[in-house]
């Protein structure tokens, strides 16, 4: 369901919206270049009109399954006034597309969507003005339909207006956008660009790439993070059928074979033959991981502070501590890459990396190559949900390709490789405190986040790449840094939008990484929204207030209020009948306090054994102007389902030496019959900037779940995952 808000007070169903005329001001024409267009203002970096009338759109953001390529294609087609099927997209090719950094952080719509919209509008203005000259007609007398400019007496197609250099000028930031009423594609759920090929079984994924003469590579990883390769007698493996090369460089060990099953068999044999150094206990005990974390040396920063100026008396202080374990991306498709090093010394890697430019530079440094000779091309992978092993697969493939110059090598990780070596979402402790006055008002609100890093992406340094640490001349792992304001890393979404007289949020950051960690969807937001939205519920309960009413009392942000009210209403919050073992809960956040506004309400049933059954989930979401409603619904619903799985089931297992979690039976995720019905109500705000949506629902979901379980059982869950034992109070 989509609700279109044309003003703060008017609420309309989408079907009737177009009958209203409403003066929404055109986006500010202040000569400002939006998103990535500011870094790459030359229009020809983004758009090319081909001789056959097709439009080539070149973007740096890549498709992860979140729908970004489809959405920007719609935006381009609308602003440029061409049919959707004229637009082809190249994304994430270091030789061709603008460097938009990493596709992450729900920044693709803000950075790429807004850039494409403006670039296409600017290009259309240029083309129409050239046409005006050619058709000897004033611009006002011209219209465009599917790439053809029509004048009073004649018409001319875009491809006949360009000789090649017309778009080689910089965007001005002053050209008008298309009127919303004329949109043909924005606001509609057009068929996602690659869906048909995937449904028909055509090759789309990097894992699907095949060619005659393709070789198959495998890497043998150490048994633990710290092990070093002492010796390996590879002769028996060299003698196995189809084995072309054993590749050893220090503790990096890999092989190349003619056939895939030969590579797999050889990798197993090599792994048995390899002798690794023993390691001291280098991991904390899983059972004590939160004590371990609390005892680390932290760098403390203040993310937000407001000091209250009144002298109201504190009558009561509530405190709670929330804990989140290491959790994993657990992509369905283990990472892979295909690499070719030519005789002339050029390396090309087909990869599902989210950060082809950064990773290309990291790989070039690892191989001590001229970066101009390293080309990475993005190809679809399985959903990654953050920094998984995609970049390491590209690096491993490059190392293997270097050993068989002129031959293309396909490198594929096993399920065990993926589970055991991927960088996890960090364990976190969030401490909350609220000082209340005698009327139950919060006077001071204090949040303290404790975490290991949330970002070790290959940011142009070799040491971030997994194999680079194991080479005979290894690259050190760069010291990890937290992501700064405004998005933050571990303290992301630790600053709530509720208004308190006194409000302090601090981040306690340790660089210790006994378990490999990096960005997992939402970064700190999942744990921080779990903590803060559970705690606001705890305070509401302590003062006898309804959770929805209490939030609205403290929230003046209008869009936040709309989303909370819409969610509660769609859920039937007021009408809900509580029964023993049944309850409802709500959770809200604005992702990063910058992107989409999301509120989630959940109904649960909890039995005596502590099993939580999620009966239904209702969400309301505001992502600004909607481009593809289906994709927004999928990201919100997908985030809800993933968050339920994390929250009910997931925790990485390890002992004092190594990661134990190696497959799906060790790390169960929710299955079809465990997924509840999910309803997503979308609020459309035409004229508002596009807001990132991919990570909006995970934090609100876990909080709503915890709050619902409390409502049903009066048991407050503060440690994830919510196992039956924890629910029972064991």
């Amino acid at each position: 369901m989509i609700l279109t808000f044309l003003s703060r007070r008017t609420l309309l169903k989408a079907a009737g919206a177009l009958t209203l005329t409403f003066a929404i001001p055109l986006d500010a024409q202040g000569a400002e270049l939006n998103g990535s267009l500011a870094q790459f203002p030359r229009l020809s970096a983004w758009l090319r009109i081909e001789a056959d009338g097709t439009v080539m759109l070149m973007i740096g953001k890549v498709e992860l399954g979140q729908g970004i390529v489809t959405a920007v294609r719609q935006i381009c087609a609308d602003e440029l006034d061409v049919d959707l099927n004229r637009v082809t997209v190249i994304s994430g090719d270091t030789a061709v597309t603008p460097d938009e950094g990493v596709t992450a952080g729900s920044m693709s719509m803000p950075q790429c969507g807004r850039a494409v919209r403006q670039a296409a509008a600017e290009a259309r203005w240029i083309l129409v003005n050239i046409a005006a000259e050619r058709l000897a007609a004033p611009v006002e007398a011209l219209s465009v339909r599917d790439g053809v400019v029509r004048g009073p007496e004649s018409e001319i197609a875009y491809q006949d207006l360009v000789t090649g250099s017309e778009l080689q000028q910089e965007a001005t930031g002053t050209r008008p956008y298309k009127q919303r009423e004329a949109y043909r594609y924005i606001g509609r759920s057009v068929e996602p660009l690659h869906l048909r090929a995937k449904v028909m079984g055509q090759p789309v994924f990097v894992q699907d790439l095949r060619a005659d003469g393709l070789l198959h590579g495998r890497v043998v990883r150490p048994p633990t993070y710290d092990a070093a390769l002492i010796a390996v007698d590879a002769a028996p493996v060299r003698a196995m059928p189809g084995i072309l090369q054993i590749v050893r460089d220090g503790s990096f060990l890999g092989l190349i074979a003619e056939r895939e099953e030969q590579a797999i068999a050889a990798a197993e044999a090599l792994s048995v033959l390899a002798e690794w150094s023993t390691t001291a206990n280098s991991l904390p005990h899983q059972a004590d991981v939160f004590d371990w974390l609390r005892a680390q040396t932290f760098k403390t920063t203040t993310a937000f502070e407001r000091t209250r100026s009144d002298d109201a008396r504190v009558v009561q202080t509530l405190r709670a501590t929330y804990r989140r374990p290491y959790q994993m991306h657990a992509s369905i498709g283990p990472s892979a890459a295909v690499a070719l090093m030519t005789e002339s010394g050029n390396l090309t890697v087909d990869t599902h990396s989210q950060s082809v430019f950064w990773t290309a530079e990291s790989i070039a440094k690892m191989l001590r190559m001229d970066p101009a000779r390293v080309r990475l091309r993005h190809v679809h992978g399985a959903g990654c949900y953050g920094h998984n092993l995609a970049d390491d697969a590209a690096a491993d493939a490059a190392l293997l390709a270097r050993a068989v110059i002129g031959r293309t090598v396909r490198l594929q990780y096993s399920r065990a490789d993926e589970h055991r070596w991927e960088p996890y979402g960090s364990a976190m402790i969030v401490e909350t405190e609220a000082d209340l006055d005698r009327d139950g008002n919060v006077l001071d609100w204090r949040i303290d986040v404790h975490s290991t890093p949330h970002n070790t992406r290959p940011m142009r340094e070799a040491g971030y790449l997994l194999p680079a640490r194991y080479l005979s001349d290894p690259f050190p792992i760069p010291e990890p840094r937290n992501i700064p304001a405004p998005g933050f890393g571990s303290e992301r979404n630790a600053i709530v939008l509720y208004e308190f007289p006194g409000h302090r949020v601090r981040n306690h950051f340790t660089t210790a990484m006994p378990l490999r960690v990096s960005a997992l969807r939402g970064l700190g937001a999942y744990a921080n929204v779990f903590a803060t939205e559970s705690f606001v519920d705890e305070v509401a309960h302590a003062v006898g207030a309804d959770p929805v009413a209490y939030r609205l009392r403290l929230m003046s942000d209008e869009r936040a209020r709309d989303v909370i009210r819409t969610c509660a209403e769609a859920f039937g919050w007021e009408e809900f009948q509580r029964r023993p073992g049944h309850g409802r809960g709500i959770g809200f956040a604005r992702y990063k306090n910058l992107e989409c506004y999301t509120c989630v309400a959940i109904e649960v049933a909890v039995n005596d054994r502590g099993d939580i059954r999620v009966i239904r989930v209702v969400a309301a979401n505001d992502s600004g102007e909607i481009v593809h409603p289906g994709s927004i619904e999928q990201q919100i619903e997908g985030g809800i389902v993933q968050s339920l799985s994390w929250s009910l089931r997931e925790e990485v297992a390890f002992d004092s030496e190594k990661i134990l979690t190696a497959g799906w039976s060790d790390y169960p995720i929710l299955r079809f019959s465990e997924i509840p019905p999910v309803e997503v109500v979308q609020i459309n705000r035409p004229g508002q900037p596009f807001l990132g949506t991919g990570e909006g629902s995970q934090g609100p979901t876990v909080a709503a779940l915890a709050n619902a379980v409390f409502d049903a059982t009066r048991r407050r869950l503060r440690q994830l995952p919510f196992t039956p034992e924890r629910v029972r109070g064991g």
Partner: protein, 152 residues
């Protein structure tokens, strides 16, 4: 040498008999539907139809499909390469996000519908319990299967 029927055509494979079928399909027969997910029959990504049953090709050996009828995702298309009923339904519902699990799920659903042409929603969910989806597209896929069932 193992002979079997692949998507309606008789084919012969030359490789060790204990080669997992998945690698033959992907590498030798360029079938891009079935995908490696775990190699341990725990995720469903590699499922193919053997006869009318959905089975994980990662643990089925080449020799065991001698004379069998193997169908992959590409084999579900209809006359003239048009999408089959489940493919049409998944397109109509846009029932996928990354789409990596899609082949295994459509194969699993095809097996389900061949055995139970009119499943309830619960039966569809239970029928797909051997398939994992990490993006959370489950509900749209259930709608797609019910839509395909309703097409008859």
């Amino acid at each position: 040498m193992v002979t079997f029927t692949l998507n309606g055509t008789s084919v012969t494979a030359e490789a060790d008999g204990d080669t997992p079928l998945l690698y033959m399909l992907a590498n030798d027969f360029r079938q891009f539907g079935p995908k490696y997910g775990c190699g341990a029959a725990e995720c469903g990504s590699c499922m193919v139809l053997i006869g009318d049953s959905a089975l994980p090709s990662c643990v089925i050996t080449l020799s065991s499909v001698e004379n069998e009828d193997v169908t992959t995702l590409a084999g579900l298309t209809e006359e003239g390469g048009m999408p089959g009923r489940l493919q049409r339904a998944f397109l109509a519902e846009q029932a996928a996000q990354c789409g990596y699990c899609l082949s295994g799920i459509i194969i699993s659903a095809e097996a389900l519908l061949r055995e139970n042409p009119n499943p309830t929603e619960t039966e569809v969910r239970e029928g797909l319990d051997r398939n994992l989806c990490r993006c959370g597209a489950h509900n749209s896929m259930v709608r797609a299967v019910l839509r395909a069932a309703g097409e008859v």
